[in-house]
Structure formats: C-alpha cells, structure tokens
Subunit: 302 residues, 2 copies
Amino acid sequence: MTYPMARDLPSLNALKAFEVAARLESVSQAADELHVTHGAVSRQIRQLEDELGVALFDKVGRGIQATAAGRQLRDACRDAFSGLREVCADIRQAQQQAPFLLACPGSLLARWFIPRLDRLNAELPELNLHLSASEGELDPRRAGVSATLLFAAPPWPADMQVYPLRQERIGPVFSPRYAGAARLQEQPAKALLNESLLHTQSRAQAWSDWARLQQLDPAQLKQGQGFEHLYYLLEAALSGLGVAIAPQLLVADDLATGRLLAPWGFVETQHQLGLWVPARQPQAAAQQLADWLTTQMQEPSA
Amino acid sequence: MTYPMARDLPSLNALKAFEVAARLESVSQAADELHVTHGAVSRQIRQLEDELGVALFDKVGRGIQATAAGRQLRDACRDAFSGLREVCADIRQAQQQAPFLLACPGSLLARWFIPRLDRLNAELPELNLHLSASEGELDPRRAGVSATLLFAAPPWPADMQVYPLRQERIGPVFSPRYAGAARLQEQPAKALLNESLLHTQSRAQAWSDWARLQQLDPAQLKQGQGFEHLYYLLEAALSGLGVAIAPQLLVADDLATGRLLAPWGFVETQHQLGLWVPARQPQAAAQQLADWLTTQMQEPSA
DNA sequence: CAAACCTGTGAGAAAAAGTGACATATCCCA
DNA sequence: TGGGATATGTCACTTTTTCTCACAGGTTTG
C-alpha cells in the first residue's frame, strides 16, 4: 500500500472527522456530531496519522489531546472548512431564493393559471414562482427557464424530465350569446358540419382531430374565422362569434360559470399537458410544483 | 434520500473532483489528474450539484464552463484546499526531518553499532538517526524515543510493535592474552567449571543458562569477578582478566580479528534481539531500520 | 473494587466510488 | 456533407472504502 505524495491532500473525509475530534477533544463526541460510531472516527484519525506519518493525538487519561502537529492541522481545517461551509451556504441560499421561472402558453396562463395563482403562491411560497407567457412556440430549453408547461405528444426527448399532468381533452364550445346557440344545443355533434368553425393557426388540425374521434368526416368541416393564438380564439368564442374547438382545461372555469357551453363534451387527444424540466437541473422544486398542479387538476372544477 | 442541511458541508470528495474540473475546465482532464475515469468525475460533480441544488457547469460546445455559482465555489475550494495542502506538507516535512531517536544498550552501541554507523547513515540518510545509549534499564515507552533495541524473551506487550532481528546466542569468550588461554582452547566446555568466571549483575543468570544448555550443572560454576554492565565485562575479557559469557553479536568483530576466542561456540537462548516501537506511532521509518538491521546481522561478520 | 467512560481493533455488512461500455453532441476537416 | 476525433452523460456492475457491532484494554469515580 502506498501513501500519497507530499504535495497531495490526505483523505478529506479523514480530515473532516479529525477536525471535529480535535475541536471537541473527544472521539466519542465527534462520533455523535458526525452521526457515526466512535470506531469509525477512530479509524479515520488513524488513517490520517498514517498518511501524514505523525501522531495527531496523545492519549491523556481516558481522553485525547492534540499534539503540536494536531493543533496545527486542526486550525488549518477549521479555516478551510468554515470557508467552504460559508460559500456553500451562500450558494444554497441564493439558489433557494432564486425565482422559479415557469414558461407556459399565454392561453393557459390567462384561462387557468391566473385564477389559481394566489392559492399557489400561498401554498408554495418558497418556490418564488415567476411566470412567463409565450405567444409563439415555447422552447423548454431556453436559458433561465426553470420549467415549461406544454401540450405535446409522447415520446419525450431524453434531455427533458417531463412530469405528465393531464391528458388533453378537446371539444367544441360556444357562448350562450352565439346566434345558433339555442338550436345547436339540441342537436348531435354532426350538426357542426353546417357551422363556420373558429380555429387557430397554431393548432390548425384540432377540428380534424376532433372530427375523426367523433367518427365524422374531417373533409366536410367548414373552416371559418382563424386566429393566430388560442387566446384570441377563446375570446372570440366568449364574445359569441362562433363555435371554437378548445382544450377542456382552458374553458373549465367558463363552463362552470355558464359563459360557455359544450353540449358534446370533450374527447381525449394524443397530447398530454406536461411540466417540462431540463433533465440536468435540480428537480426538487419542479417535483413540488408538478405535485401541486396534479392535485389542482384532479379537482372537479379543473 | 435526504440531502444535508444547509449548514453542513457537501461531500468533500465531490468538492475535490469539482475543484479540479473547474480549474481545468474539463471533466476528462480532471479525470486524468485524479487518475480515475471521466465517468467518476462526472458522477461526483452531479452529486455535488444535487446536494447544492444548483448547476455548477454549463455545457459549452463540447466542453464545460462554470456557472456563477460554480466559479464562486471553485475559488472557495481553491483557497481551502491550498491552505490544507500547505499545512499538510509542512507537517509531513517537519516529520520527515525529525530525528529518529534509537535507544539501545551501551554495550550494543559500542561493540556493534558504532562500527557500522557510517554505513547506516550513508544508506539511510533520510532517517536522520540519533542514538541514545542507556546504562540502566531501557524503557521502550519513554517519550521522544522512536524505537528501542532490546534483548528480551517473547511474548511481546500488545502496545509495542516488535521487529525481531535475531535470536540471542551466548557463549564463553576470553582473550588470547588470558593466562589459561592456551590450555583452555584444547579442552571441552566442562573445563570451565574450574575457572573463575567473569559475570554481570544485570545478567546474573547468563552463566547458569549457558551451563544448562550445555548439560552442565550450574551449581558447580565458580562465579568470579562481577561487573555492573556488560560493557565493562567485555572490556575485562579483552584485557585478559578471565572468561566472560557474552552475546555473539557483541563479540563478533573481536572474534573476527582474533582479539577474543570462543572455542565452544555459542548457544541460542530464549531471548531475541528486537526493535521495539510504540505501536501507535508511524512504523515506516522503523520498518526501514529493521530491514537494514536484519540484513546487516545476516552477514557472516555480524 | 465495581461501575461508568473512553479509545482501539477486528470481522463482516453496508455504502460509496470507480469502471467499462455505450449514447449523444460538437467540432473539424476533407 | 459526412465521417472521424473529442467530450460529456449515464447505466449496470464491480471494487474499494467506510461503517457497525462486539469486544478488549485502560482510566476515572463513587
């Protein structure tokens, strides 16, 4: 067995055990502080003495006392470790206080998140949540973004940790103020083939998907007014401009208050709403948020 | 799995791996410096990032770059480790330069050690050997004594590491100048029963031991002049004062040069010459010395 | 003088770290 | 543009280290 050269550090764990023992002048008390047995500490100190080739403690009575070399090393350890402890505490604290930046589609922010924001901040105050609504395509790898809420279909990319929250469900909705509202409510889904259907550029295939899931022929759908984003589409539906196709999650509140109607219900798509977190970054806060979101979305009003 | 509280240190081994990687800005080069695979370093850094809850490196191109937190921690590690390295080097150097104090009986010092001292210092210069001859009883536990040469019989005490060097062999010796020298040389050992036998207070039973090993009756021995120490006994024998009983090792040189005669040879006793070292202190230097002594004592002239 | 403490040590168990192989991403140059 | 060289990340498995438990001295205390 060979020992490290003079310019190398001895075992740092041994130094840690030694520092505590030297500070408390007791192997047993050091063992308590380190939550190990006294035998473990004794061994570490012995190993350190072997590496340095010098006795660090004398046995005095039934206790121990640092030798000259031991005192020298103890002081050096105290300085080194306290410096590290301080910086590590700083880093941890800064990290804990750093805001958790959650990116999500603007429509989700407005229609689902904002009404629940007070509760979230009250229940997860240490998260220090910041929200970033995006109009265009969401990039979950964008620098500074802690996590992103996305509707997407599996499989997930390998460099992302995705917490699935809820299967997307879509369905046609319209306002009671819509001209054809009273008539449509009484008819089967097929009646929509005669309506001008509001749609978005970003999810142009939404109506087709829905039609297929309803056993209707997508080709027979009449595309009406288009909007750039889902947010405007929903505003248009709320204003009674026509029938929109929308994720259930985003209209749940409006359905509950009667501002929108969805007589044919909703159907599940291939997409899932998920919380996307870059795999390489700490997951603790994201997990916490995902748990909270899951709970919230399981409630009937969601 | 739980991580340490904020006031605790993260894994010091992880910090060590991190410091090297941060300094070299490369996981692979750090692995080389630490003589491990890059996977090991990668794992350590990952562990540290988990413990601190913060990313320490960004992937930049095909390399890595420390984040703000990483730079902060790198500097702290550099300071802490360089302080420890320095103090440890100091301690090791001081220890290496400290003299190795060897205690041994005066007779052994004068009759065996001193003639070989030049060679010892030449072959083991870094040992920085100091010798302490003792007239009285040798205490191998005396403070400041690195090791002690002792003739003694097993078993050895548990708190001593004993390196056995050579079985003790004793036998009668006398000078050619001794009055009865010519006559005695031709006769069997039994003839000594008629001689006045020189002896020491410190090993009063030496002649009796020898007689028993020779199948002679100890009671028939005539004790002559006594000396306090073996050293004087040997001087007396050299001067032709009579027949002495002596360890072979101490008279080997005198026999080789013809200044003493040992016509009946030597017999092994229960004692062994051993190098006694307090078990709790570093053994490297003592092992080196023991090896050298063993080699020297195996040579014919020993 | 026994009881309470403390440290040291061994064998075996538990935990940590390392390895080797593979996957993936980037850079560079033909 | 694509293939080779270079880097990092990850996983199952192995090796090494560390810890524990139990016991063996030795010292202090009531």
